[in-house]
Amino acid sequence: MQNVTTLPARNPAPAGRVVEGTARVKSNDIVTGDYRLMVLDAPREMLDCRAGQFFHLLCPVLGGFEPFLRRPMSIYGFDAEAGELRFLYKVTGEGTGALALLRAGDDLNLLGPLGNGFTIREDWRNLLLVARGVGLATLAPLAMAAREAGCNLTAICSARAKNLLMSVEEFRATGAEVIAVTDEDGTSSVEALREVIEGRIAEGGIDAMYTCGSNRILTLLQDIGARHGIPGEIALEQQMACGLGMCHCCVRSFRRGGAIVHERVCREGPVFSIQEAMGW
C-alpha cells in the first residue's frame, strides 16, 4: 500500500498560513567544522517568512539514522523571488546527521514558517545583535530585515577561533557593521563584550538588542538592558514535537508581572523578550 505521505492531499486545501510540503535540495555543503548550509528550492507559498521564524524539518531515515520526530531549524535565509530557503545547521545527532547526507536533487519535507519572528519597532534606528555558533543561523536574517527597516545594525559575531567565524561577509553585504570576537583573542569574554556594548551605548546609543542561545550572553544583555532601559529579544530553543502549539512539550519559564509563566517556544516564541526570559 502507498505510504500516506505520498498520497495527494486533495481535500481540504491548506486554509492557514503554515505549509507542509516538499522542497528540493539545491546544495548542502560544509561551511566550517560541523556546520552545513542547506539551500532549498522551495515552493513560493512557504516563503512568506520573517526573521526569527523557523521550519520543522522531517529529516529522512537515511544511512542508519532513524530520526522519528521533526527537527526545528531557524530560517537562515529566504528569497521569495528566487524561491530559495536556506538553513545553517550544526550536525549533532540523529536528525541533523541524516540531514547532512542529503544531496542536490533530494527532496525534504518541511512545515512552516512557524513561530513569531523578531520585532523591529518603527522608531528604532540602531540595532545590536550578539551571535555565536549556530545562533548566527537565527540572527542572520535580521540583517536583511534591519536594512529593509532602514536601521543601522551592529553584529557582534563570536566564535572559538577566527577560522570558525561564519557569515561575517553576509552581514557586511547587508551594510551591517561586524565586530568579530574570538575566544583565542580573549575578546569574547563577558567582560570584553560588556565593554564593547557599553561603548556603543555611550557613543551613539542602541535602541534594541537581539541574541539567541547562550545563557551567559542573556544574563549580560539583561543586565545592560535593565541598566539602560534598552529593550531586547532572544530566540530560544526547546525540544519540540508538533511545532504548532498542540503538544505543550516545548514550554519554557518566563518572568512576567511578578509571576513565572510557561510559554510554548514554538507558538509564543521562539522569540521572547530578553527581560522576561529566564536562564537555564
Binding site: 498520497l7 522519528f68 520526530l69 540523529e94 519535507n109 514535537a241 498542540m246 514550554v251
Partner: protein, 314 residues
C-alpha cells in the same frame, strides 16, 4: 462514491478519522481546514489550573516517542470562555476530554462540561486515581465501574471511556465500562515507558517516565481493540500508532468503528485529511461501499474462543 460515515452510538460522524486527545488543538487550523475531520477531540482538561511536568517532556525512541507532558490545563473557566467558543464555528462535533484525581470530582467536572456545543465527553480514565495509590481508574474493572457509574449519572451526553493499555484486565475493564453506561470505548492511551541517556545517565524525560506512543504500540492497541470489540456491544474507537491508511483499515477490520490519530500528526500535520482521502480511495478501488462493511470483518473463524480473551503472550 464510497460512504465514509460511521456511527458512534447516537452520533453519526462524516468519517472515522479524528484526533487523539493531547495531540490536537485549534492551532492545527493553520495547516488545514479542520472541518474535514470526523470529530474534534480536545486535550484533556481539568477543573483546576495545572502546570504540567518538568522538561524535557518528550523524547524519541524506535518507531515512537515518549511523552510526560502531564495534563497542563488552563482550567475549566478558560475552557468555557476560550476553547469552547472557538469550536462553535465548525460543523464537526466537539468531544471534550476530561480528567480528575478522584471519582467525585471527575463526575462534577463531567456535569460542568455538559454544555451546548459539546457533542460528547471523553473521560480519560487512564489517569491516576489518587484514591487507589495512583493506579489509573482504567487499570481495574472495579475502579472503572465505580468512576463510570458516577460519570454516567453526571451527564446525558454520549460518554466515551478512554482505556489504558497498562493493565492485564483489558476485557474486564471494557465490560465494566460498558455495564456502567459508557457509550463508546477509546482503545487506548499510552504505555508507561522510560528511556535513559547513557552518556549523562539521566532519564531522557524530566519526569523520569512517560507514555509510549506511535507505530511501536500499534500491535498492542490493535489487540486491545479486537478484544474489546469482541467483549462489548458498544462501539470502539481505535487509537495507537495509526499513521497509514493500512493502519486505519487494520483497526476497522479488528472491530473499531472509528479511529483516533495522535503521534502521526506530529510527524505529518496533514496526516488526518490524507488518511480520509486515502481511505476513500482504497475503499473505492477495493469495492467497499461503506464503513460498516469493514468494521469487525476480521476473518478469525478458525481462532479458538479462548484466545480472544487471553492476556498472556504465549
Amino acid at each position: 462514491m464510497v460512504n465514509l460515515t460511521t456511527r458512534i452510538g447516537t452520533m453519526t460522524l462524516k468519517n472515522p478519522i479524528m484526533p487523539a486527545s493531547g495531540t490536537f488543538s485549534e492551532e492545527l487550523a493553520d495547516v488545514f481546514d479542520l472541518d474535514c475531520l470526523g470529530a474534534h477531540v480536545t486535550k484533556t482538561i481539568t477543573r483546576e489550573i495545572r502546570g504540567g511536568n518538568p522538561t524535557p517532556r518528550v523524547c524519541e525512541v524506535q518507531a515512537g516517542m515518549l511523552n510526560s507532558i502531564g495534563i497542563p490545563s488552563k482550567g475549566l473557566e478558560y475552557f468555557k470562555t476560550s476553547i469552547l467558543p472557538h469550536y462553535a464555528d465548525y460543523e464537526t462535533p466537539l468531544v471534550v476530554s476530561i480528567s480528575a484525581n478522584d471519582a467525585d470530582s471527575f463526575a462534577r467536572l463531567c456535569a460542568d462540561v455538559t454544555l451546548p456545543g459539546v457533542a460528547a465527553i471523553e473521560v480519560n480514565i487512564s489517569c491516576p486515581n489518587i484514591e487507589e495509590d495512583g493506579k489509573a481508574f482504567a487499570m481495574r474493572p472495579r475502579t472503572t465501574g465505580e468512576v463510570m457509574t458516577k460519570l454516567r449519572a453526571a451527564t446525558d451526553l454520549p460518554l466515551w471511556a478512554k482505556l489504558t493499555p497498562n493493565t492485564g484486565e483489558t476485557v474486564e475493564v471494557a465490560q465494566a465500562a460498558e455495564e456502567a453506561g459508557a457509550d463508546a470505548l477509546v482503545v487506548s492511551n499510552t504505555l508507561l515507558a522510560m528511556a535513559i541517556d547513557v552518556r549523562t545517565r539521566r532519564p531522557k524525560l524530566g519526569n523520569l517516565m512517560g507514555g509510549l506512543s506511535g507505530p511501536s504500540i500499534k500491535p498492542i492497541a490493535l489487540r486491545m481493540t479486537y478484544q474489546c470489540a469482541k467483549a462489548v456491544n458498544i462501539p470502539i474507537i481505535g487509537c495507537g500508532g495509526i499513521s497509514e491508511v493500512e493502519d486505519v483499515l487494520e483497526f476497522l477490520i479488528a472491530g473499531a468503528s472509528a479511529v483516533q490519530v495522535g503521534t502521526a500528526t506530529f510527524i505529518n500535520p496533514t496526516v488526518m485529511p490524507r488518511l480520509i482521502d486515502g481511505l476513500a480511495a482504497y475503499m473505492h478501488h477495493a469495492g467497499i461501499a461503506s464503513i460498516p462493511d469493514l468494521v469487525g470483518s476480521v476473518r478469525d473463524e478458525e481462532a479458538a474462543d479462548g484466545v480472544v480473551f487471553m492476556e498472556a503472550a504465549l
